[in-house]
């Protein structure tokens, strides 16, 4: 499917290596406008003040966890429709349910492959198009 390659993406993870990995994979897919944040606490102001169209976030972060970031985004009238993909090592059933209830569009378990990330992104945007 045709992806909106000009969408502005925010990638949030407290580990630098993971931020750079996700950014590189997004670049390889064709996305070029990618911003990185190291915590939910730094990401939320960026989301509120920027014009981001897609959020990719980790769960475990020191200041503000990803699940709380998701809830904050869904609670904001201006941001609530933003597609959100959670990419995290947390893979317990109750956590996945919690993320779904908080409003993520999809969920990737680390470690992941570039093909999985691409497939999930395509699925998220396909779901939005419906």
């Amino acid at each position: 499917m045709s992806l909106p390659l000009d969408v502005k993406i925010l990638v949030v993870d407290d580990f630098e290596s993971m931020r750079r990995i996700v950014k590189q994979v997004l670049n390889d897919i064709g996305f070029k406008d990618i911003t990185l944040a190291d915590d939910g606490a730094t990401a939320l102001p960026l989301l509120k003040n920027g014009d981001f169209g897609f959020l990719i976030t980790d769960w475990n972060m020191p200041q503000m966890e990803g699940i709380d970031l998701v809830k904050a985004v869904r609670a904001d009238p201006r941001l609530k429709g933003m597609p959100i993909l959670m990419v995290t090592a947390e893979a317990k059933r109750e956590q996945i349910i919690q993320a779904a209830q908080a409003g993520v569009n999809d969920y990737i378990v680390k470690p992941f492959t570039p093909d999985t990330l691409k497939a999930k992104i395509e699925k998220v945007f396909a779901g939005l198009a419906k």
Partner: protein, 248 residues
């Protein structure tokens, strides 16, 4: 409590004490020394409580010794940017240093990939263009250029594999952080329990029970295992199935 495999066996000491007291009790009864017998019985009762307190002290000491004696090896110390790694540091600090070491290693690899990957992609594009230019006039040369393009594609794919492999730093770092939290909590809880047990002990009539001073003990391996989280992590397919069932 896991069986002690170290050089010090508290169970053995407790059994020896009790055997000694039982011997004294028998002696009192033989001599019709009822007061003495009751005194010995009080000692035996006190041994039960003291042994619990003593066991806790062993645990706390063993954990504290393991934490303070943990050291990164010489190679790790040399690799770190920090200067003050010579002294024995808390295990949590050392584990934090391990996270930093792996982060530095991953960053170095990612920097090299940032430089190399664009070069490989440029070479691929150029080889494609050259192949197209040669195809009609020099088909054999075009075939050779095509092989170069295939090799460059393989290199590009391998570079992507190297990139994804750096994800280990994230996963190992998270695991180490969780271990640090568990260790710190375990030590804190054990010490709090010891202090509480000491408070309770001091409220009752003191009955002297002799054990070796906890500070004199060698390393103890008698450490309780941390109870594991019983929930299993799910694979990506299972995650997708669960999300589908939830309507995602």
């Amino acid at each position: 409590m896991t069986k002690n495999t170290g050089t010090f066996d508290p169970e053995k000491i407790i059994v020896e004490r009790l055997q000694q007291k039982c011997g004294e009790l028998t002696s009192c009864l033989v001599n019709m020394d009822v007061a003495g017998a009751f005194s010995v019985i009080e000692h035996i009762n006190a041994t039960k409580e003291e042994s619990i307190y003593y066991g806790l002290g062993m645990l706390a000491r063993g954990l504290h010794t393991a934490i303070t004696n943990f050291e990164v090896d010489d190679f790790g110390k040399a690799y770190l940017a920090h200067e003050d790694t010579g002294a024995a540091a808390k295990i949590t600090t050392q584990l934090d240093n391990v996270v930093e070491m792996s982060e530095q290693s991953a960053r170095k690899t990612l920097n090299i990939l940032d430089d190399t990957t664009p070069l490989v992609k440029e070479l691929k594009e150029e080889s494609e263009a050259i192949e197209a230019a040669l195809r009609d006039t020099h088909p054999e040369l075009a075939d050779r250029v095509h092989k170069q393009h295939e090799r460059l594609s393989k290199i590009d794919s391998n570079l992507l594999e190297i990139l994804m492999a750096q994800g280990f730093q994230d996963l190992s770092g998270q695991a180490i952080k969780k271990v640090n939290v568990i260790l710190e909590g375990l030590q804190t809880d054990l010490l709090a329990l010891l202090r509480y047990a000491n408070q309770v002990k001091s409220m009752s009539e003191p009955v002297p029970v002799e054990f070796p001073a906890i500070g004199e003990l060698a390393d103890s391996s008698d450490v309780e295992e941390v109870e594991e989280d019983k929930q299993e992590a799910m694979a990506q397919d299972d995650v997708d199935d669960l999300l589908s069932s939830l309507g995602f």
